[in-house]
Amino acid sequence: MRSRNKYLHEFLKPVSIVVALLLVGVCVLFFFLGKWQWDRTQNILNAERAAAAAIISAREVLGPELDPSDFGRTVVASGSYDITHVARIGNRLSGGGDNANVGQWIVSDFELDTGEHVAVLRGWVPPDGTYSTPSEEVELRAVVQPNEAFYEDSKQIDGVYAVIDSAVLSSEWGVTLSDGFLVVESEFPASPNAPKVVPPTIQTAEVAFPLQNFFYAVQWWIFALFAIALYVRWIMVSSRQRDIR
């Protein structure tokens, strides 16, 4: 009780009150500086997400080595399928739970108007099921995916592959394919008996988290707490020193 009175007495001294008012000002300032950095963090994230969500031409993304930040990005590409270059990927499910059906994925060589080739996952068919491939030029809307890197030494058995690997398909088809592959979302014009479109594994392109602004926000708020702690300690030490005197 006595020590509480001692601190209260110290706190009510004019100089302590002035410092307390300054402290409130500093804390408010630091809070808003932290909030400003927090808002900047959110704005940068939103801008990056909007940029990553914008649909761009496949040509801007495809190449010998994909940029991992483009995985999950939606692109458009116009060109035509090479009906002689088709691969079936085995043991792939369509649907989920009890209604899941085992079938195959159909991967085709797609030649862009500009001459580049890319492996395109057109969709799912039942085992050895039939499907149609448009012979004329089509416009694809598709999602960029990395090669399926698991089972590196996977072999094709009876013409059916275990995974999609653009390097393997390049040597099989004798063309230079882009790294990774595209998962079709839609084909225009639509084929009457096209494989059933499958969802891409990676659905949204990753964006870099603005760590610097996020840490600045946290640091401003910790500075405010530190200022309060400093004030409390100053009151305690001052009252103790008064006691000694």
Binding site: Q212, Q219, I222, F226, W234
Partner: protein, 116 residues
């Protein structure tokens, strides 16, 4: 036990570490904005951003070391605040370290003993 020498050493270490990081980041920023067009494209290297973030966290350690020393030396509040702010002004922490060492060296023995 006299706590001042160890508090002074802790302050010296933090003043120099924080000071070197802040000075490097400041020189880098000046070169970046004046010569390398950081203001235009925002394409700053990762290490540059890391340096500023590192200064923020190192400054906390500096604050703790500085507050500890200021309380041991019974500094008034304004002097304490000035010591704390020295960690945010480029090159000021080196001067603060120099001043603090001179202050402690010239301290009457009685004051040093009182804080034992």
């Amino acid at each position: 036990m006299n706590k001042i020498p160890s508090a002074l050493l802790a302050f010296r270490i933090m003043a120099w570490v924080t000071g070197v990081v802040l000075a490097s980041a400041t020189v880098w920023a000046l070169l970046g904005y004046l010569l390398w067009g950081y203001a235009d494209d925002g394409g700053k290297p990762g290490l540059y951003s890391l340096l500023w973030v590192a200064h923020g966290w190192l400054y906390f350690a500096y604050l703790i070391a500085a507050v500890n020393l200021a309380f041991l030396l019974r500094f008034p509040i304004l002097k304490t605040v000035a010591l704390l702010l020295a960690g945010t002004i480029p090159f000021a922490s080196f001067y603060a370290d120099f001043v603090m060492h001179r202050y402690v060296r010239n301290l009457p023995q009685t004051k040093a003993d009182a804080s034992q």
